[in-house]
């Protein structure tokens, strides 16, 4: 068969969002690939310039449907950096607990999508059902199920609801039993291993040069995690390990995410245990001084960064968002070339695409 270009997307089951992967195939083998993003551009950075600092929090939620808590938290972190605010300690612990819950929920959604990409339909429903446990916790905590609008500049919106700690600990216990079952289910399946081991090799040097961050980078053997390397919030107080893997393939990316879920369970336990009593929010000023603020967090998908320029009014002069997926997707040609057409779903699924944040 002659070489031909195939458009996978913008409407395609592989994409998980609205983007286009053009691949050139020779029969079934990929010889070239071009990712195209930009179909979901909503102008969030420009939109933010016309809104007050508080009004931007719900917009920041919309950056990624999979982990909205992380992005609104990142935005609040940036504004606090700009305003020079000190957040009450209880609020920090609540935030850490919430974003770790969000990390598990995001990784579970990734696992669901990944399983259904590989044709394992049972994996999709099981993981999505268990994500529901965390979503219910979020509903109790914030009132929302997908976009939470929970962090505030200088704290969080509400204190924990009644019995939340008990429910959260139960959820974590449940999640740990289920994670064990998932590991048995996926790694016990020979076909799953056949589809993952040795597929989509992204070498250490390539990963670093292409700016890949997050689980995909750690799966290439680079121990780089902002929670450890540039700690923010109360992460220095937490005892957890950075999950890395040396294999550089799809299985390594799967393994790193599973390990991160285990570590997140640990962090949630610790933050609930160490959480002090006290205020959960301080009154923040409406206006920001002239200057710049920078926030960097470890998003479930990689390093999220926001850069904010204040001009002395109650609205930002400029908001710049650094999206991990926007950078990671540029590594697609490097990873894809040489593999089979069916590996596209495994490789691109393994990168955990979230187009909302890439297109902003």
């Amino acid at each position: 068969m002659a070489e031909m270009w195939i458009n996978m997307g913008p409407q395609h089951p592989m994409t998980h969002g609205l983007w286009n992967l053009r691949i050139k195939v020779d029969g079934e083998t990929i010889v070239d690939a071009q990712p195209e993003v930009g179909y979901l551009h909503r102008g969030i950075e420009k939109l933010a310039e016309g809104k007050t600092y508080t009004q931007i929090i719900p917009i920041a939620d919309r950056l990624c449907y999979g982990s909205s808590m992380t992005w609104s938290h990142l935005y609040c972190l940036t504004v606090e950096n700009l305003m020079g605010l000190e957040v009450p300690e209880r609020a920090e612990y609540i935030r850490v607990m919430a974003i770790e819950m969000q990390r598990i929920a995001s990784h579970l959604m990734w696992l669901a999508a990944y399983a259904s990409d590989l044709g394992l339909a049972a994996g999709f429903t099981y993981t999505m059902r268990d994500r529901e446990v965390l979503i219910d916790l979020f509903q109790a905590l914030t009132g929302g199920r997908l976009t939470y609008n929970y962090p505030r500049i200088g704290g969080v919106a509400h204190d924990l609801p009644a019995n939340f700690e008990r429910d959260a600990l139960r959820a974590v216990d449940y999640m740990e039993t289920r994670l064990k079952q998932y590991e048995d289910m996926f790694e016990g399946s020979k076909i799953f291993m056949m589809r993952n081991v040795g597929i989509g090799i992204l070498k250490k040097g390539d990963a670093v040069n292409l700016g890949v961050t997050g689980p995909s980078l750690r799966a290439s053997g680079v121990s780089y995690d902002l929670r450890k390397d540039m700690p923010y919030s109360v992460y220095p107080e937490m005892d957890f390990a950075v999950a890395t893997h040396e294999d550089c393939d799809c299985y390594a990316r799967y393994r790193v995410r599973m390990d991160e879920m285990w570590e997140s369970c640990k962090i949630i336990r610790q933050s609930l245990k160490k959480m002090p009593k006290g205020k959960w929010r301080i009154v923040a000023p409406r206006t920001a001084p002239v200057g710049t603020g920078l926030g960097r967090v470890e998003d479930p998908r990689g390093e999220g960064m926001m850069y904010l320029v204040g001009d002395g009014t109650d609205r930002p002069y400029r908001l710049k968002i650094r999206s991990p997926i926007f950078v990671t997707v540029s590594a697609a040609p490097k990873i894809l070339v040489g593999y089979k057409l069916a590996d596209v779903v495994a490789i691109m699924g393994g990168l955990d695409m979230c187009i909302g944040e890439a297109d902003r």
Binding site: M1, M4, I6, M8, H12, P13, M14, V25, E28, A115, S116, D117, L118, G119, L120, A121, A122, G123, T125, Y126, R129, S189, I191, F192, M194, R195, K340, L341, A342, D343, V344, V345
Partner: protein, 376 residues
Amino acid sequence: MNLYEFSYGIIHWLVNLVNNLWYWLGDVLPGLLGDFFDAIGRFAASHGHMAVMAMLVESLIVIIVALINVLNFIWIFRKLSGRIFDFYGPYYVGYRIGGWLQNLADGVKLLVKEIIVPMKADKMGYLLAPVIYIGSSILIVGIIPFSENFGISTTREPGQYVPGAALLALAVFAIAPFSILLAGWSSNNKYTLIGGMRSAAQMMSYEIPLLLTAVSVFLLAGSLSFVDIVDAQHDIWFGIPLLIGLVVFMVCLAAEVEIIPFDLPEAEAELVEGWTTEYGGMRFGLFYFTTAIRAYAGGALVTAFFLGGWQGPAIIPDEIWFLIKAYIVYVIFQWMTWSLPRVRVDQMLGVGWKRLLPLAVLNLLIAAAMKTLGWF
């Protein structure tokens, strides 16, 4: 009374009824015209005419029974997937019978949808492919008898069915990949093209082990007729001495009917809907329906070749025994579907050529050895 006699009786009664008219016309009309109507009546009452009509009637009965079974199969497929996936499956339409009517509701919905033919499609191939696919699949269920008395026969004698029916069923089974390739090619879409090509590759690598294991069964039974094959399993089911063959046959059938570990031609993750991408409305519905027909035919083949066919304690009628076994095989197929990921095309060809083919040859050797030793 077997199905042929039953159908013959119906036709006989019908011909006698209508012949009153022809003979009466022959009496009242003068000359040549009267002779003509008399001749029609005599032709209708002839044995040859009635035998042909009886065969048509019995094929109609067999196909209707099979299609009702297929509705059951789709329902089982949905309910079982629901149970495996932690939801209920359909239950609104036909609430009291477990949502059984959902299939019919879906069929009605698909029937009223617009039929779209892609502008750049090859019209001839595009329209012909579903006909070949569905026709060949229904032909298989017509060939496989449910019991010694229930099948499309050629004579009045019970058990005298289409000679070499097992061979014919396997041959007809192999037509479908051709129509898939035709559908994929003529739709003029890259996804369908790749799906069709994959189907051709899949057929080539999995047809050979399938036929080799079938040959081992034919060897033990010494016949190509379903009735003889099932009779030969009176003492022991072929599935027990030919356990390797049973496994190889099931795996190959899974590839032939394209269920999930091997559903590469319609791998929905990378190829959208594979070779059916450009088919919409009732054409898609018929493809969906036909997939269930093929799964049923696969279950029936396994039952007849390896699981003793319609043999079982006489408390339950033979036909029901056959259906129970076919249903169990189908459920095993579905169980496999919902609990396994999809393999990649090169891995699948590797499994076909490097694992299944040697196993099939080994199985054939075992069968030949047992036949030589006189055990069968």
